[in-house]
């Protein structure tokens, strides 16, 4: 109580100081927030606007459309995706769409496969006790999670040789298998966290009611774990969509994915900025949209198991 007395006496003075400090800290906080938001968003803004620029606008560093420069469909026309070319045949566009389709098939296929395999394993590890030789539950879980440390480069060349022998080079199946293995540890991690948070009494009650072990899983647990499954699926989708290393080594023509196409364009000298910008914008658009709409699930997926 004693320490309050001087505070009351200086209340007026103190209040003004506190207010000043409050304003200063607000300015600092919002300043920092805006600065970082600018750092995050400017490259995206730059890419999108550049896809509408002509050569002069690029070299003179014009930034703001309709103020600095008159936007034009230039970049998108070269991709065959501008309003005036969208109904004409375009080899670039069909190439782009083929790559886009491959990326969709690969990432959705791998994310689904990983989700099925990973959810089953995670549920088993969360509910039952296993003994495979010397391996107990914790060892099995560690065995799965530890796959995460394998750098792609370790598997890439053996896979090149194996896929050649298996005739899986340059196929969608081949890429799906390898993408599945790269996201499987993450799915298992997220899903075990999810299953651990569902009370085991639910399983027991359902077993008493006469459901089999698999019946419990399919009818009771899966519906409850759905948000976690969506999170694991979206996160896997993001990682597979952006993957470049394996795709660059293991595909040639047919199964090439979008990142490989973008990379091959970047490599060629003297490529037009506007078409590169349009291509990059088109490549990042699906995930940028997913990021804005499904941010909640991505955060849920990222933070599973890390915070308890």
């Amino acid at each position: 109580m004693v320490s309050y007395a001087p505070a009351i006496r200086n209340m007026d003075q103190g209040r003004r100081a506190v207010a000043a400090r409050f304003v200063a800290s607000r300015v600092l906080i919002y300043g920092a927030l805006l600065l970082w938001a600018f750092i995050c968003l400017f490259p995206i803004y730059w890419t999108i606007t550049t896809s509408f620029k002509s050569a002069v606008d690029v070299t003179q560093g014009h930034l703001v459309p309709w103020v600095d420069f008159q936007p034009d469909w230039k970049g998108w026309r070269s991709l065959g995706l501008s309003p005036d070319t969208i109904f004409q045949t375009s080899t670039v566009r069909s190439e782009f769409l083929a790559r886009f389709e491959n990326s969709v098939i690969n990432s959705v296929g791998a994310a689904l496969l990983a989700l099925v395999l990973g959810s089953l394993a995670a549920y088993g590890l969360s509910r039952f006790r296993y003994k495979f030789g010397f391996m107990r539950n914790d060892d099995i879980l560690f065995f799965f999670i530890s796959q995460l440390i394998l750098p792609p480069v370790v598997l890439a060349l053996p896979f090149l040789v194996l896929y050649k022998a298996l005739a899986l080079l340059d196929t969608d199946i081949g890429l799906i298998l390898i993408y599945t293995l790269s996201v499987l540890p993450i799915v298992i991690w997220i899903m075990r966290d999810q299953f651990d948070s569902i009370p085991v009494e639910l399983d027991e009650a359902a077993l008493v009611d006469g459901l089999s072990v698999w019946g419990v899983f399919m009818r009771i647990i899966v519906p409850l774990a759905l948000p976690g499954m969506v999170a694991a699926f979206i996160l896997s989708l993001v990682l597979c969509w952006n993957e470049y290393f394996f795709a660059a080594l293991l595909t040639g023509t047919d199964a090439k994915t979008l990142p490989v196409m973008v990379a091959s364009q970047t490599g060629s000298q003297g490529i037009n900025w506007w078409s590169m910008a349009a291509l990059s914008a088109a490549a990042i658009a699906p995930l940028a949209i997913i990021g804005v709409l499904l941010e909640r699930y991505i955060i849920k997926g990222l933070t599973a198991g890390a915070v308890k």
């Binding site: 927030l33 490259p43 560093g61 792609p152 598997l155 060349l157 077993l207 973008v262 955060i299």
Partner: protein, 373 residues
């Protein structure tokens, strides 16, 4: 694991259905026969490839199907012979069989390839080279240079962590439009590193017209060449990688901050701690487990860094920005020698395993990764 124990001790389990001796035998025979069939098929194919027999397949693809069929037979056999326990094993078995087929087997196979002199584009097949690749590796200055660069990249995770912590604190403060800022801060994580390579590396930082170069000139730096000198190039690459991955660390730390017990922070305030003190004495120590987790995962991913380097600098200038992955990629592209490339990769894998084991042991007191939570 306590929850699992409760179910497993099985007070409430329905009586396990009777597994007759006949079923057990049928199950065992199924597994044995399927295994024999798979091994026989492998033998036939090996003999065919070596030219001993004329009976065999054009490619190894049928063996993939044989493995899948074997896996199905194994599952069926376990279900028959083990009953309830077999049903439980079915949850983990698919993932285990998958992982063995696509991770364990290729990794072991990789150690074999690493001992070969094998140029994929040449006509003569693999030649056994013993430890020759390993000796070449020790003499390969570029490889050691790439390893040294990895040390820099891993140390730079510390800076990424500091920035991410600051951002997490900002997002955790009482602010308006929190959702907007969170989405904006998360966006770089969603973008493909290859696209980022162009968007930032090849256009924003471009020497002639890039806005970043223009800005640098305005600020008085006459020659803003971001990829010309070794250290600058390395830092530029690191900045791009940080741009993509800071959101990930930030999200983990933010979740940690939100889970902090409020009473403790309020108690610190009541005790008259300044916000600076309460951060360093209360928040930061309480955040240790989350921080260690975030740092470990980030380091694991950092050790895989390749895409941005391959697409922006291809390791240049003079190998200054090379990561181990990008170097091996280039070695393979230039020489198509899978033997040597794999030897480099396997040596790297061993180094990583040692490094991470030490790191896991050293941090095991605070960490929550790896199952032994």
């Amino acid at each position: 694991m306590s929850t699992a124990a409760a179910l497993n001790d099985g007070r409430h389990q329905p009586p396990a259905y009777v597994v007759t001796a006949g079923r057990v035998n049928a199950g065992r025979w199924l597994i044995v026969l399927a295994t024999i069939a798979l091994l026989a098929l492998i033998m036939v194919q090996v003999l065919y490839v070596n030219g001993r027999t004329t009976l065999g397949f054009e490619t190894w693809r049928p063996l993939l199907y044989a493995y899948i069929a074997w896996a199905a037979a194994l599952s069926g056999g376990l279900l028959l012979s083990r009953g309830e326990a077999g049903e439980r094993a079915m949850f983990v078995l698919p993932a285990v069989l998958f992982t063995v087929a696509v991770v364990i087997f290729p990794t072991l196979f990789g150690f074999y390839i690493a001992s070969l002199d094998w140029n994929l584009s040449a006509f003569d097949g693999p030649k056994f080279a013993g430890l020759a690749n390993l000796f070449e590796l020790f003499a390969d200055g570029s490889y050691w240079n790439a390893l040294l660069n990895m040390v820099f990249y891993v140390l730079a995770v510390g800076a990424e962590y500091a920035i991410a912590f600051g951002l997490a604190l900002l997002l955790n403060a009482e602010i308006r439009a929190r959702k907007f800022f969170r989405v904006a801060f998360l966006l770089p994580f969603m973008l493909s590193p290859v696209a980022v390579s162009w968007m930032i590396g090849k256009s924003l930082l471009e020497y002639r017209f890039g806005p970043a170069a223009t800005l640098a000139r305005m600020l008085g730096w006459e020659n803003p060449a971001f990829f010309a000198s070794p250290w600058l190039a390395r830092i530029s690459i690191e900045m791009m990688d940080a741009w993509v991955s800071i959101p990930f660390i930030m999200i983990l730390l933010l979740a940690g901050l939100q889970a902090l017990p409020r009473e403790v922070l309020e108690a610190a305030k009541v005790d008259g701690a300044s916000s600076w003190q309460s951060f360093w004495r209360v928040t930061f120590p309480l955040m240790a487990p989350v921080s260690i987790t975030a740092l470990l995962i980030r380091i694991i991913f950092k050790l895989k860094l390749a895409d941005i380097v391959i697409n922006v600098t291809s390791g240049g200038p003079g190998g200054a920005t090379d990561t181990v992955s990008s170097y091996i990629y280039r070695v393979y592209r230039d020489r198509s020698n899978v033997g040597y490339g794999t030897a480099l990769a396997m040596f790297y894998l061993i180094l990583i395993i040692i490094f991470l084991t030490v790191l896991l042991k050293a941090t095991s007191r605070w960490r929550r990764v790896g199952g032994k939570a």
